[in-house]
C-alpha cells in the first residue's frame, strides 16, 4: 500500500490488467509514444509495445468501432477518448452498437469494452475541454458508467471495468489527476461496479454526489462539523447502474437530501436520484430534495470569471448544505 496520485492509480490499473491478461490492450489518440495528453498511459508502450498500446488515427467513431470489433473477438480493449467532449462522434457506435450488442444478438455477441475519457472543468478548458457528459449516456440501458473519486477507487473500479463482460464508460475528472492522492493497494484490487460508498456518516443532512464534488463536499462537511452540522456523504462511484439501495438508505438516514453534480442540472443524474427518492422514500423526508448543479448553459466559458461562475466550489456547496440543515 502506498499513497498515489489519482492519475498514477489509473496507470497502475492499466499495467496490472495488461500484465495479467494478454487480451487487454489500449488504443486511442496519442496514447502510445506520447503516453496520452495527460500522461495516463505513460510508460505502457515501453513495456507492452506499439500493438498493445496503439496510437490511432484521429477518428473517435473509428476508435470505438474498431474496439467493438476486437471485443467481439474476445479482446478487452481499453479505448481512450482524449476528452469526453470528443466522444460525440462515437455516440452512434456506443449507443447503437456497444450498448445493444448483447441484447440484439440474444446474448450471442458481446462487447466487453472500456472507454476511458477525462471530463470536467475548472482547468481553463473552455467549452470543449470541460464538459460533463455522463447524463447523455446514463439514459442508455446496456452501458455502465463509472466515475471514481479516489485514487484507490480509480484503480479498483478500472480493473473491475476491464473485467466486466459489458461496455463500461470510465470517466475521470481531469482536475483530479494531480490533485487527489490516497492510499492505493498494490497488485490486485477490485472495487465492484454498482456499489456506492459512504465517505462520512452524520445525522443531519445527506449529500449524494460523485467525482471531484465528493472532495468539495467532504471539505465543507469538516468545516460544518465545528458548528454542529453533521453531514452524511454518499459517493456514488457508479452512475449506471445507480446503487438504488444505498441512495434510499442514505436519504432515509437524515431525511434531508442534497444532490450535487458539476454537470448541468436539467435532466442530470440528480434528477433521476431525486425521482428515485421521491418514489421510494418520500414519507421519510423532512425537507424538499435539493439539487446543486452546473447552470443550464451549453458549456463552460473560457474567461476565468465566467468559468468560476459556472463551476461548483466548496463555497456554493457550503451555502447549499447550510440551507438544507436549516430547513
Amino acid at each position: 500500500m502506498a499513497v498515489k496520485l489519482f492519475i498514477d492509480a489509473i496507470r497502475d490499473a492499466l499495467f496490472h490488467a495488461m500484465r495479467e491478461d494478454e487480451q487487454v490492450f489500449v488504443l486511442g489518440e496519442d496514447v502510445g509514444v506520447r503516453g496520452g495528453v495527460f500522461r495516463v498511459t505513460q510508460g505502457l508502450i515501453e513495456e507492452f509495445g506499439e500493438q498493445r498500446v496503439m496510437d490511432t488515427p484521429l477518428a473517435e467513431s473509428g476508435i470505438v468501432g474498431v474496439a467493438i470489433g476486437a471485443a467481439a473477438m474476445g479482446f478487452k480493449p481499453v479505448a481512450e477518448i482524449q476528452f469526453v467532449d470528443f466522444i460525440l462522434p462515437a455516440v452512434n457506435q456506443i449507443i447503437s452498437e456497444a450498448a445493444k450488442m448483447r441484447y440484439r444478438s440474444n446474448n450471442d455477441w458481446t462487447c466487453p469494452l472500456v472507454i476511458r475519457a477525462p471530463f470536467g472543468g475548472g482547468v481553463h478548458g473552455a467549452l470543449y475541454h470541460s464538459q460533463s457528459l455522463e447524463a447523455l449516456f446514463y439514459h442508455v440501458p446496456g452501458l455502465k458508467i463509472v466515475i471514481p473519486s479516489t485514487a484507490a477507487d480509480a484503480k479498483g473500479l478500472l480493473l473491475a471495468a476491464i473485467r466486466d463482460p459489458d461496455p463500461v464508460l470510465f470517466f475521470e475528472h481531469k482536475g483530479m489527476y494531480r490533485l487527489i492522492r490516497d492510499e492505493v493497494p498494490d497488485g490486485e484490487h477490485i472495487v465492484p461496479i454498482g456499489k456506492a460508498t459512504l465517505r462520512k456518516t452524520g445525522d443531519d443532512i445527506t449529500v449524494i454526489t460523485y467525482g471531484l464534488m465528493v472532495h468539495y463536499a467532504l471539505e465543507v462537511a469538516t468545516k460544518l462539523e465545528q458548528e454542529g452540522i453533521h453531514a452524511h456523504i454518499l459517493d456514488l462511484r457508479t452512475i449506471a447502474p445507480l446503487d438504488r439501495e444505498a441512495i434510499i438508505e442514505a436519504a432515509r438516514h437524515t431525511g434531508k437530501v442534497l444532490i450535487v453534480h458539476e454537470d448541468n442540472k436539467t435532466g442530470g443524474v440528480g434528477a433521476e436520484i431525486a425521482a428515485m427518492i421521491a418514489e421510494e422514500a418520500l414519507f421519510d423526508l423532512d425537507a424538499p430534495i435539493m439539487r446543486l448543479a452546473g447552470p443550464d448553459v451549453p458549456a463552460m466559458p473560457y474567461n476565468a470569471g465566467m468559468e468560476k461562475f459556472y463551476m461548483l466550489n466548496p463555497q456554493k456547496i457550503e451555502d447549499a448544505m447550510r440551507n438544507l440543515a436549516r430547513f
Binding site: 500493438q51 488515427p57 473509428g62 470489433g69 471485443a71 457506435q93 448483447r102 440484439r104 444478438s105 458481446t110
Partner: protein, 335 residues
C-alpha cells in the same frame, strides 16, 4: 461434353471444380427463392417487413465462395441473404428470423428482418444504422493480426453506406495497420430512392481506396466468377499480410428498397427490366448450361429440393414458439 473437363472454362482456370460452381448456383438460387417467398408472405399479410437481396446474389455468392466460413468472418449488411446462407445459415434459420421466433439464431426474435448475425456461423450481428459494421470488421481483422491468425474479415455494404464517416474511418484505420479485411461494396445504384449520381461525384466507389493506400477494384457483380476471382485475390492478399482491398461490385437492386417502398416513384420500369435481363441468376445459369453442367431437368431437381426445404422451413417457422414477452427484459447485461 457433359461431365467432361473443359480445360479452357473460366471456373477451372480459377481453380473451381464443376461441383463448386453448381454449389454456387444452388446458393444463389436458394437466396432468390427464399427472397421471393418472403415477398409472398409479406403480401399475404404474414410478414410485416421484407428487405431484399434480389439482383445482388451473384456478387454475394461470388465473394462468399472466395472465403472459408470455417475460419473467416463476415460483417454483412441487411441485403446479404446470399452471404448469410453461404456462411451456413439454413432456410429454417432464415424463416425463424423472419417470423421473429424464439429459435431465431440471429436475435431470438428481437431484430427486424434482414438483421442477421450468429457467432457460430462467424457472422457479426447487424444493426440498422448503415456502415457501423465497417469499423467492427476492422477490429475483427485487428484481432487476427494481434493473434497472428490467418482468418480474414469480409465486410459488405451498399454504395450509400460508403458516404458515411464510419466507412472512411474504418478504411483508413485498416490501411494504416495493413489489416486482413475485405471491404466489399455492393453498388446497387440506389440509396433507397437516391441514384448514384446524387450520392457520389467520383466515377467509382473503388476509386476511394487510393486515399487509404490499398487497391480498389471494380467488378461486374453479375459476373459471379469474376467476383470470385477478385475476391479470392483480395483474400489471398489479406492472408499474406499485405492488407485490405476495396472491391466494388456493380449490381442492381431488382426490388424496391423494402416492402414499404414503391420504386415506381423514382425509376422507370424500362430501367428495371433492362437490369433484370442482366441478372446474375440468368447469366450464371447460361454459363453453366453452356459448360454442360446444368440443364432444365437438373435445374428443376435443384429447385424442387430447395423449394421443399423452404416450404418446410416456412411451415416450421409459422408455428414455432414466440419468445416469452417478459424475456424483453433479458440480456441487457451479462448478469
Amino acid at each position: 461434353m457433359k461431365g467432361e473437363i473443359n480445360v479452357l472454362s473460366k471456373h477451372h482456370q480459377l481453380g473451381l471444380t464443376d461441383d463448386q460452381v453448381i454449389a454456387m448456383y444452388e446458393k444463389m438460387l436458394e437466396a432468390r427463392l427464399i427472397d421471393e417467398r418472403l415477398w409472398l408472405l409479406n403480401r399475404a399479410g404474414k410478414l410485416p417487413f421484407v428487405v431484399s437481396c434480389q439482383g445482388q446474389e451473384g456478387a454475394q455468392i461470388g465473394a462468399a465462395f472466395a472465403m472459408d466460413p470455417t475460419i473467416d468472418y463476415a460483417a454483412p449488411y441487411y441485403r446479404d441473404l446470399g452471404t448469410i446462407l453461404a456462411f451456413g445459415q439454413t432456410p429454417k434459420d432464415i424463416m425463424l428470423h423472419m417470423y421473429a421466433r424464439a429459435e431465431d439464431p440471429n436475435s431470438g426474435g428481437r431484430q427486424m428482418p434482414g438483421h442477421y448475425g450468429s457467432k457460430k456461423h462467424h457472422l457479426m450481428s447487424i444493426s440498422s444504422p448503415v456502415s457501423t459494421q465497417i469499423p467492427h470488421a476492422v477490429g475483427m481483422a485487428l484481432a487476427a493480426k494481434m493473434r497472428k491468425e490467418t482468418f480474414v474479415t469480409y465486410v459488405s455494404f451498399g454504395e450509400g453506406s460508403s458516404n458515411q464517416g464510419d466507412f472512411h474511418e474504418g478504411c483508413n484505420f485498416a490501411g494504416v495497420h495493413k489489416l486482413p479485411v475485405i471491404f466489399f461494396c455492393e453498388n446497387n445504384q440506389y440509396a433507397i430512392s437516391v441514384p448514384l449520381a446524387k450520392q457520389v461525384a467520383c466515377e467509382h466507389i473503388a476509386d476511394r481506396a487510393l486515399g487509404y493506400g490499398f487497391p480498389g477494384v471494380v467488378v461486374d457483380g453479375n459476373d459471379v466468377l469474376e467476383v470470385y476471382r477478385v475476391t479470392k485475390e483480395a483474400v489471398d492478399r489479406a492472408r499474406r499480410g499485405d492488407g485490405p482491398t476495396l472491391i466494388e461490385a456493380l449490381t442492381y437492386r431488382l426490388t424496391p428498397h423494402s416492402s414499404d417502398d414503391d420504386d415506381r416513384a423514382y425509376r422507370s420500369k424500362e430501367e428495371v427490366d433492362e437490369a433484370k435481363a442482366k441478372d446474375a441468376m440468368i447469366v450464371f445459369k447460361d454459363y453453366l448450361v453452356k459448360q454442360g453442367l446444368l440443364d432444365e431437368s437438373k435445374e428443376k431437381t435443384i429447385r424442387d429440393r430447395l423449394m421443399q426445404a423452404i416450404n418446410e422451413a416456412t411451415d416450421y417457422a409459422q408455428t414455432a414458439q414466440d419468445p416469452p414477452p417478459e424475456s424483453t427484459l433479458d440480456y441487457v447485461y451479462a448478469n
